[in-house]
Symmetry: C2
Amino acid sequence: MLDQYGKQTKCLVALDSIIFGFDGTKLKLLLVKRGIEESKNVWSLMGGWLQPDESLDEAASRILQALTGLTDVYLEQLTVFGKPDRDPIERTVAVTYFALINVEDYDSFELGNYHAEWFDLDQLPELLFDHKEMVDNAILRLRNKAAFHPVGFELLPEKFTIPQLQKLYEAIFNTEFDKRNFSRRILSSGLLTKLNEKQKGFSKKGAFLYELNPQASGKAASSNLYFVPSIDRLV
Amino acid sequence: MLDQYGKQTKCLVALDSIIFGFDGTKLKLLLVKRGIEESKNVWSLMGGWLQPDESLDEAASRILQALTGLTDVYLEQLTVFGKPDRDPIERTVAVTYFALINVEDYDSFELGNYHAEWFDLDQLPELLFDHKEMVDNAILRLRNKAAFHPVGFELLPEKFTIPQLQKLYEAIFNTEFDKRNFSRRILSSGLLTKLNEKQKGFSKKGAFLYELNPQASGKAASSNLYFVPSIDRLV
DNA sequence: GCAAAAGTGTTAACACTACACCCATGG
DNA sequence: CCATGGGTGTAGTGTTAACACTTTTGC
């Protein structure tokens, strides 16, 4: 250690969450309108302050729950941002998290209290401070994660079809996949269980529903990429 | 935002670096003996406090430089640790970094001022607070990083031989590779330039030296893993 | 009956693994 | 001359990408 505790400067510690959703076609990002005077009404990530009695993960969950009402959301720590002047009001270190939430869940909650809205990833407004950088960083991490871990499923309802899953992965990677290769690849991973129901209404033929088999969700790809033909598109 | 700035609690922000080195055979970790009364003489990661005028990356570099005298070290942010009671003296949020430093550089500096020592990764002493967890986390990140990015080179001198590189990768992944497959794999990556010098002294025949061609160092694997046969051993 | 989406197989190129012998040199 | 580590090639296997047609059904 270089110095004793004594008179070290302290910082505010903020938590900011990059909250991804999926509407069936496009990846979405949940943003809120800032209520604080400085930069009021600028769109920003959902954030809050670390409280004395909680861990970082707990704080991020608490804040996410306040906005969406959701618990048990997939939440993972990303990068910490700490430039001295990143927040003009007072020095703040911001720990970012990314959250993946299910299409069917979020619209049942009152986002209005926080002036929250879903934005298309390719049509984001100007964001507060360094929040744009946080988002860009989160997208890269999402891609890396989704290539090796069955994490995209968090963005879909419990039961989903292969074409739905493919559209999601295409949205995440901003590209298109061959549907024969895609379905072979994910079925051969053994992660999915085919159900005896079909999803009707969207297509005339209807598509079979699948669910993620439960012990699989924490797993990493065993020998190669799960869902993505090559990792060219990863950093 | 859930609350105004006003009376939010502030935290100390520490930076702790997991400093890896390579001695030709084993991966090493640089530890220092704590000088502060509480837990005095316990081995810990090299760390320090965030100062008012610096970013997190700058602080991590500054602290690393104070210990090793080195600048331009490969340094990358890892996880933030923030359990409320992780430091018993005062609430501290610790941002971890991993550093890869070159075998030939470090021994020329006076580590003694900080009571610093290199430890084999498989023979670590008891560590301060949650530092063991930080180290374990860093090893996993190092493996992931090294599988896809030509990052292991940071641990070697500028000119190195293929057998040296192989030993390094074997140390990182704690396994053994077939030397024919290993050398084919890395040479086909196009990252290395063969030099017209041989390293003598270690073996009787001598081994050709290589260097990393400069534009390659930031690159990710283009189609598959660079150096590792499969990713079974990654998380 | 036709438009729209679901579903399904084959092949050719490539990549990976496993494996064994000769080379150069210092002692 | 021999012990030590450096250096190289191939055959067999598995994996991947590219590709097109048939099925179902709501309208």
